[in-house]
């Protein structure tokens, strides 16, 4: 397994796509922070105009820094999207170029192959997420500082969203890996995980509601709030007030549960498959 990982990380180091998306993950928070800075300037100038006093009052009621952090942390899903595209394109090359044959010929088992690629996919996802988060904190701290935040709630929520982002990344990347090994086609490895991540939470909620006649949701077995925290339903600090350890644990468990289902279905499909 170590040898497969060494090979994949060598390839990753040479991958232009990986580095372009990595740059975007670092650059987007800066862009977003600059836009918010510009907005802060506009609010300042508006407050000096008496005829705009109502609007100025409204804008002043918004905490610029909190808004910025909220927006930025919600963009964590962008990091997940970039990592999804990158890992699916990068890893599906193994099948389109036929190089996975070299792995099997090097006396590696299908199990080693599956889990090595899964690790690589997760590493891609976590590195994008970390880059995004680090850039967000850096640029927001540099441009606004954290001093004016009430009780540091926004910052702690940001860390919380990062922690959950890691679980979300694992979810997304196991989904990619499942399609990679089950279908072994590049288009399917990109398209199906995107569709699942974007629509599955809504569909899942709908199914749960239909089946349980809202009893499950109302019975707090699964809450709508929790459902909305499934990947791409956003991890934002808008709901910072609702965050507690139990909820975070529950969300993390959902992610891990779905990830486990993806791993099992992907692995056993691949284990039996005839490869070309």
């Amino acid at each position: 397994m170590i040898n497969i990982l060494r090979t994949e990380f060598f390839r990753l180091k040479k991958s232009k796509l990986f580095w372009i998306f990595f740059g975007i993950c670092c650059g987007l928070p800066l862009l977003s922070a600059l836009l918010n800075l510009a907005m802060a300037g506009i609010i300042e100038s508006i407050t000096e105009l008496p005829e705009m006093s109502d609007l100025a009052e409204l804008l002043r009621s918004l905490n610029v820094t909190t808004t910025t952090l909220s927006g930025l942390s919600s963009l964590m899903s962008d990091a997940a999207l970039f990592s999804l595209i990158c890992s699916s394109v990068f890893l599906s090359k193994e099948f389109t170029d036929g190089t996975m044959r070299n792995v099997l010929l090097a006396n590696k088992s299908r199990k080693e192959m599956f889990f090595s690629y899964l690790i690589v996919a997760i590493v891609i996802g976590v590195s994008y997420l970390t880059a995004f988060f680090a850039a967000t904190m850096l640029f927001v701290a540099t441009l606004f500082g954290f001093g004016d935040l009430s009780a540091g709630a926004a910052v702690s929520a940001c860390f919380c969203s990062f922690a959950l982002g890691i679980f979300a990344t694992i979810f997304v990347q196991t989904c990619v890996t499942m399609f990679l090994f089950a279908v072994r086609k590049q288009w399917a490895t990109i398209l199906f995980p995107i569709l699942i991540c974007m629509f599955a939470p809504t569909i899942f909620t709908l199914i749960v509601q239909i089946i349980s006649n809202i009893l499950i949701v109302n019975g707090e077995i699964i809450s709508n709030t929790t459902i909305s925290w499934i990947p791409f339903a956003n991890v934002t600090i808008y709901d910072a007030g609702k965050i507690d350890g139990g909820l975070i644990g529950k969300i993390a468990l959902y992610y891990l549960l779905f990830s486990g289902i993806f791993v099992v279905s992907g692995y056993f499909t691949f284990e039996k498959a005839d490869l070309k």
């Binding site: 170590i2 040898n3 497969i4 060494r6 090979t7 060598f10 390839r11 040479k14 991958s15 232009k16 090359k93 170029d97 036929g98 190089t99 996975m100 044959r101 070299n102 792995v103 099997l104 010929l105 090097a106 006396n107 590696k108 039996k272 005839d274 490869l275 070309k276």
Partner: protein, 314 residues
């Protein structure tokens, strides 16, 4: 007992109810160069895919280096198309392969390997810009990275020009002689295979019809000469002193001989018997001849009853 590198026992593969490989039981000994011969659809590639674990056998079993510990570098293969990273350079492909095999990427050896197959080790060109022939050369270089004991090649000269085919043959022979690499190679180009293989497995319809050595084929075949003559019966009598004869048409006769007599002497004998020879043809490669003959025996010579073409019966 000879050192066996590959052994299969009733290896069978069925795809969607169709038997593609049926009860194949073969043994390949260390140091041999074995040609896998057969038409398209004979089951060669599927057999190779099973041996390389790409495809799971429906039944039967196989072992590479049976009874021995196999390490990462022991077996290398090319199956159908080159397995190379298109977004890397040739050299980077070899470095990636070294890492996969757990070897230190020895720059000197990798450069030597690329040069051996006729590629420029310092070229910054990405593999996606290579021609098919260059990709095939690189794929062969990839197989050499681990200095394998067993090399499995499926149509390795696909896409190569005549010089490339010659070069690859030289490399395979060199590997076999200098490093003792056992080679299993499938190819449609029988004349090419017959130049370096020591053994052949002839496949048809998923079965191995025959295992025969190159020496046996040479001894079976001898020299075969087809002649166009005006008097076949008389020619047959004259030629019998040189070997077996067979009248193949009203004016053609085939002589199969192990005699050292030069063709001019045979012609002279015919001329002395006042037989006019209008054409003399040294018949082709003995592997090819043998293969065609073997397949003829396997195929029905008469069409099945009630076989019709365009509504008419044959």
């Amino acid at each position: 007992m000879a050192d066996v590198m590959i052994t299969t026992d009733k290896l069978t593969k069925i795809y969607n109810g169709k038997t593609v490989v049926k009860d194949v039981s073969i043994q390949i000994e260390r140091g041999s160069i074995v040609g896998l011969v057969g038409q398209n659809g004979a089951g060669k590639t599927t057999l190779i895919r099973m041996l390389t674990t790409l495809v799971k056998p429906t039944s039967g079993s196989f072992a590479l280096l049976p009874g021995r510990q196999r390490d990462d570098t022991t077996v290398a293969a090319i199956v159908e198309r080159p397995s190379i990273y298109n977004n890397l350079t040739g050299k980077d492909n070899l470095i990636a392969q070294s890492k996969l095999l757990g070897l230190k990427a020895d720059n000197e050896y990798l450069t030597y390997t690329l040069t051996l197959v006729g590629l420029d080790a310092s070229s910054p060109k990405l593999v996606k810009n290579y021609s098919l022939g260059m990709k095939q050369r690189l794929a062969i270089a990839m197989t050499l990275v681990g200095k394998p004991e067993l090399l499995i090649l499926d149509e390795p000269t696909n896409g190569l020009d005549p010089q490339g085919i010659y070069d690859m043959r030289e490399i395979f022979v060199k590997l076999n002689r200098e490093m003792g690499t056992t080679i299993l190679v499938s190819s449609h180009i029988l004349s090419e295979l017959s130049k370096f293989a020591t053994d052949f497995f002839i496949m048809d319809k998923g079965r191995v019809l025959k295992h025969i050595s190159a020496d046996e084929i040479r001894n079976l075949g001898g020299k075969r000469v087809k002649m166009t003559v005006d008097k076949t019966e008389e020619a047959k009598k004259v030629l019998e002193q040189y070997g077996k004869t067979e009248i193949v048409s009203s004016n053609e006769i085939v002589l199969q001989t192990e005699s050292d007599a030069p063709i001019t002497q045979i012609m002279l004998s015919l001329a002395q018997a006042e037989i006019t020879v209008t054409n003399v043809n040294q018949m082709g490669d003995s592997l090819e001849e043998y293969y065609i003959e073997l397949l003829k025996k396997e195929k029905p010579t008469t069409p099945p009853q009630n076989f019709k073409i365009n509504g008419g019966s044959l």
